[in-house]
Symmetry: C2
Amino acid sequence: MFVSLPVQTAAPAAYLPLETSQPQKAETHLKPGAYLFYEGDDMEFLYQVTSGVLRLTRLLADGRRQVIAFGYPGDIIGFSSNGIHHTDCKALTDVRLQPFRRSALERGEGDRILHAAFLQAALREISSMQDHFMVLGRKSASEKLASFLCMLDERVGTESGAYRSVTLPMNRADIADFLALTTETVSRTFTQLRKSKIIAVNNNHTVIIQRPTALKGLARGDCR
Amino acid sequence: MFVSLPVQTAAPAAYLPLETSQPQKAETHLKPGAYLFYEGDDMEFLYQVTSGVLRLTRLLADGRRQVIAFGYPGDIIGFSSNGIHHTDCKALTDVRLQPFRRSALERGEGDRILHAAFLQAALREISSMQDHFMVLGRKSASEKLASFLCMLDERVGTESGAYRSVTLPMNRADIADFLALTTETVSRTFTQLRKSKIIAVNNNHTVIIQRPTALKGLARGDCR
DNA sequence: CGCGGCTTTGAAGTTGATCAAGGTCGGTGG
DNA sequence: CCACCGACCTTGATCAACTTCAAAGCCGCG
């Protein structure tokens, strides 16, 4: 019986457009702060993120919020089983998107290759959501933040001098609602990681990973 | 901007076999306590649950555990994006399963109808996982348990006299690890729901829903 | 009857939430 | 260029929910 390693998401580390021979709708563009769709909207399109970052959220009646996912280049956004969107989707940066007609999901319709690509994307999504269950359910605040930073580093981290670094287009509240914490706790945890020299923080939107091994260990839950 | 209603999973409320014309492997059978696969195993097959209940779990190095899902009749079990299982899968009851070759997921291979059915199943899975994010991340202990009972009632609840009732094939620890609580808290919360006459509990494995509206309200988070 | 596994209950301990100020930074307008 | 404003972030003090630790109860089964 193994122990959970975060799935080595063979997710498109770099943006990789879906293969298709179908005539497609033209690329869509979104300004920071703009919404792509709201919860309850009819699903007309699926989108593959070409560039930029999106935020998918859900709300409870009393305002409690959960960030369901951040959408990065390569990700497919807007999957729904019943033709209704179940999240709000907002652009955090300038975003470019490739839309695909909803019918591309339906049986028979659309080209086979595209269909298979959607299934692969859905399977990757399931994998990463399973990882996140563990994060939400069983990890401490510092383990959660470490997991988040590691995940972002794997997806969109860049070499910067001696260290790798990650840009955070979302604010502390978004991170809090993704990790099921409060902004205060996220902030305190950043401070803690900074003080233990595991990371350094620039202008609150750039994190430099000074001790990657320590960060990964924390993320895995080797120690609390 | 809407507020999250748990997705009306158009999930096969009753077991609905996948349509396929393909020659299939014969149905598999599992005794209670038997494992279907372990984390790290190669994925050879996908399975549709015909009858019985499965439990999918993940572990952290220090033993912290998260129940990823319970597999009920109609559910597709064993989705993986990279051909490796990322959970342990154990039968909680006698289980019958219809296996499907992994290749049925791959592009080109297999029949189109089956392929589309898998995609639909994957999309439903994503929907229900999104619901569960909200439960794990933002709900209190009693809201979590109420959500769990409502979900089970929708899926497999039965009319029993004046009330509906739900059978729980899993134990308190499994429920705890599904909802990210401890067995003690789950037990206390059951007691609390019992004392407020929202539910009645039989032999610890049967719950009678005495006040469905109160239970649903609690699950939605109308009040804490 | 008695054993073992599961569940319940109680008391004390912790983690993270809440409440409440300040502090920082970037943009705007005088 | 500087002052101000607002949004966001940080820090501190207190609090509550849930966990942990401990012990007893229940129940099905050999």
